[in-house]
């Protein structure tokens, strides 16, 4: 049987993560050239934060995350698959194509925008479902 141990406050761990993101954002905003090892540092930082957060939340909080992870993934995969299939019929509006061509200067920029928009949409889906899981306990 699991033994209990002193937990760290998971909110503090999330605050540390937000602070890390804030610092990176500020440096980027100031146009400071980040060293080549920055992506690796970000990866290690996020892994440490994620492991630490997971070890310090209780089982109901984990259940909420599992639920949000599963349904947000399913939602996003379904949406992306639908969008991708639609593109096969050349059904992308011309206005969207010309917007992409004027907004971005290179295929790399379009690729990066695709990654970022994927992450943002996933986070939105995840947050809505996660909030919904907890909100349901207040409605009874």
């Amino acid at each position: 049987m699991a033994t209990s141990r002193k937990r760290l406050n998971p909110n503090n761990i999330l605050l540390l993560s937000a602070f890390g993101g804030f610092i990176i954002g500020i440096l980027n905003g100031l146009g400071i050239q980040l060293p080549l090892w920055t992506p690796l540092a970000v990866l290690i930082f996020l892994l440490i934060i994620s492991i630490s957060y997971w070890k310090n939340i209780d089982e109901a909080a984990k259940e909420a995350h599992k639920f949000a992870w599963y349904w947000s993934s399913i939602g996003w995969i379904s949406l992306a698959a639908t969008f991708y299939t639609t593109m096969q019929y050349n059904a992308v509006p011309n206005s969207l194509v010309s917007l992409l061509e004027t907004k971005f200067n290179s295929p790399t920029e379009i690729f990066m925008a695709g990654i970022i928009s994927s992450i943002i949409i996933q986070i939105i889906f995840y947050s809505i479902i996660w909030i919904g899981w907890w909100a349901r306990t207040r409605m009874r």
Binding site: M1, A2, S4, R7, I57, D58, E59, A60, A61, E63, W134, R136, T137, R138, R140
Partner: protein, 65 residues
């Protein structure tokens, strides 16, 4: 699954936060268990039973019974 957690807690005049501290879980999790939104794991159910000095089946009621 139904449970008597809210009643047992009220008998001891504990708030959800008090119970959360005793069980080393968050107040939100106590609320989720009390409202039946979340069924605790076996280790947590045993911990709750030990805290209230009662058998598990007197705290958690299977709806099939």
């Amino acid at each position: 699954m139904d449970n008597r957690l809210k009643v047992l807690r009220a008998e001891r005049k504990w708030s959800q936060n008090d119970l959360a501290i005793h069980l080393d879980i968050s107040r939100q999790s106590v609320n989720a268990i009390e409202t039946g939104k979340y069924d605790p794991s076996l280790p947590l159910a045993f911990k709750i039973a030990r805290l209230f000095e009662m058998p598990i089946e007197e705290i958690f009621i299977d709806k099939i019974d």
